[in-house]
Amino acid sequence: MDKALLERKNLDALLVAIRKVAKLFAPARDGRDGETAFSPVESTAEIHLEPVNTRLSAKGLFFPQRETLMRFSGSALSDVTLPTGAFVVFGVRPCDARSLTWLDCVFIGGGQEDPYFQERRKSAVVIAMACDQPCASCFCTSVGGSPYGSEGADLLASATGKEGALLFEAHSDKGGEFLRTYADFFAAVDGDTLKERDERAAAAKRRMKALDCADLKEKLDAGIDSPLWDTLTKTCLGCGVCAYLCPVCHCFDITDEKRGAEGVRVRSWDSCQFPRFTLHASGHNPRPLKKARMRQRIMHKFSYAVETAGTVFCSGCGRCVRACPVNLDIRRILAAFKDLQ
């Protein structure tokens, strides 16, 4: 695996070089409550890596909230333009990077490729940033991830102790290519740096409390009709915060908008938590009750995805825990079912 050291003094120059050929996205202050969001950045000064993750995940860079699929004029298709333009995403936490591989399963796997998503994935280099300060709401280690995880990352960067130098490790061909392209900015890595990195990774992991999620799928499957679904979800407001902030939730709507004869067919984020998500035109709704909708969310992430994609669809990023307006904590739901006899 290619590894290289980026000294702090070279970071700005590296970013300038990247921006000559690609758009650069990184967590920047979003002007409110000290929170951050993935934004186009021009210099290191704009980048803010906080212990608390970005408000919205990086999924919007690949699966935008509003995406024009095609244009029409009258009853005829007038334009289908796929997204273009190379970009680099820097500072994606391992939880968000891992989620990208699951979005790949949905949008690229399954026999029909989604060209809009595929084009963006092809055009991007994902540089993940390891976590040394996991938060109380983080639980990646409970779902098979880790603060130094590299799944979904083309490169994993981590902070060394040495005056702000960053260690870069390539985890894909694209990552290796990146290090070769920008070799001038990087220095060699010595054995000590690597040893420290392993120690830091272990320390970060130790800071986290892991939920034991073995047998979780079996317990959830067995408890499909449990009254727990009612009691645990009573306070849910039925908004879209959890699904929209989640790095892997991907349900979407397709609608037509027009003015006169000209219009667009657009896709937009949707959530299985909205009561009207499954509403038939006839008025029939297979999931009329809140408990059925929250059950769908949990089962999809922790049971159905395991069957269809071989993995849970939750990276433990904790956004839903922090942002849920009524603090419905997904970990409590999992714990309640784990303990079910």
């Binding site: 409550d33 408000r55 109380a136 879209g240 915060v241 825990v321 009524v326």
Partner: protein
């Protein structure tokens, strides 16, 4: 405050033991120690979970309309509505009164435990402070003192932060921190009444029409159409929201800015004369949108035009839900006045 929590639990247990209520909506401790969360309890034993401290920011009245919503009832064989206990701050109480007036929750079916409020703190601000001081750790204990909020972290640290800077802006401005019309009041003192966001309103009033529109647009452009504001609002209880009908489709479902702006304009205007300025919409928003200049402006306009402040009496109907012979017609005959 430990005393208020104990008192709430005691009253709740008594209500259940005396079979006076079927369910009670209150607060329990939330994730990682920083937050509280709403909870439904149905027995004296479950009432042990009830808590009360500086983080009880939510408006519990939001749960009432769906508890009382029932299908068509056969005359003479109507099922009895549930008897619901609810823990209420002053803002919750005012929303509750508004709902009772609009026949969404019969007052006689509610038992309200009123709690005087010292202002609730923003859990996000507290979490950020703790993260800055000690990294992202779990808080194992939170003590809401007079001047300071003290926390104990999972890694054994004791930290203390000044209380006022953590308090929600809306609570700093709150004019009515003591609930009126509760069935029983928990002992405790409230914060002194604020100035209703006078400065905020004055600043907004100074802006030209164009500047106000720009400010509104700038705020609303952050919106991701998650509808958390609408779902958290107690007086937003329509089972089919105008934003989601497709026949006719009043607005598009995406984050197209004009559609999003119309959603917020209509929602806020629909609250005129009903909004208790409880801040639930602002607190629910995951994108930190500050709706207060707009919600407060509407409430101020209603006060000025109709001399009405919602949420205090069960009799006076909200001005925009009433028609009087002497109502102003100026908006028809002189639409561009002012």
């Amino acid at each position: 405050m430990g005393d208020a929590a104990r008192e709430i639990r005691r009253i709740a247990a008594e209500l259940f033991d005396g079979k006076k209520i079927d369910v009670l909506i209150g607060f329990e401790k939330g994730s990682d120690g920083y937050r509280s969360r709403p909870v439904f309890v149905s027995s004296a034993a479950e009432a042990e979970r009830l808590a009360w401290d500086a983080t009880c920011s939510h408006n519990l009245a939001v749960y009432l309309p769906s508890l009382f919503r029932r299908g068509p009832q056969k005359k003479g064989a109507e099922s009895a509505p549930p008897r619901v206990g609810v823990v209420a701050k002053a803002c919750d109480m005012r929303s509750l009164i508004a709902l009772a007036k609009e026949k969404q929750a019969p007052r006689e079916s509610l038992f309200v435990i009123g709690v005087p409020c010292r202002g609730m703190i923003d859990a996000r601000k507290l979490e950020a402070e703790v993260a800055r001081a000690a990294g992202g750790v779990e808080v194992t204990a939170l003590v809401d003192g007079e001047e300071a909020v003290s926390v104990e972290t999972a890694d054994g640290r004791a930290l203390s932060f000044a209380r006022e800077p953590l308090v929600h802006d809306a609570c700093l401005e709150c004019r009515f921190p003591v609930p009126r019309g509760a069935d029983v009041m928990v002992e405790g003192h409230a914060r002194p009444a604020g100035n209703n966001g006078d400065a905020l309103l004055k600043e907004f009033a100074k802006l030209s029409e164009t500047e106000r529109w720009q400010k509104f647009q700038a705020e609303i452009s952050r919106c991701i159409r998650c509808y958390a504001c609408r779902q958290a609002c107690p007086t937003c209880y329509c089972t089919e929201c105008f934003a989601e009908t497709n026949s006719p489709a009043w607005i598009g479902v995406t984050t197209e800015l004009s559609d999003t702006m119309i959603f917020h304009i209509v929602r806020i205007f629909h609250q005129a004369g009903r909004c208790s300025e409880c801040d639930a919409c602002v607190r629910a928003c995951p994108m930190g949108i500050d709706l207060r200049p707009f919600t407060k402006k509407i409430a101020a306009d209603v006060r000025e035009m109709f001399g009405f402040t919602p949420g205090f009496d069960l009799e006076t109907p909200p001005p925009l839900l009433t028609f009087r012979e002497d109502d102003q017609q100026g908006f028809i005959t002189e639409p561009h006045r002012g």
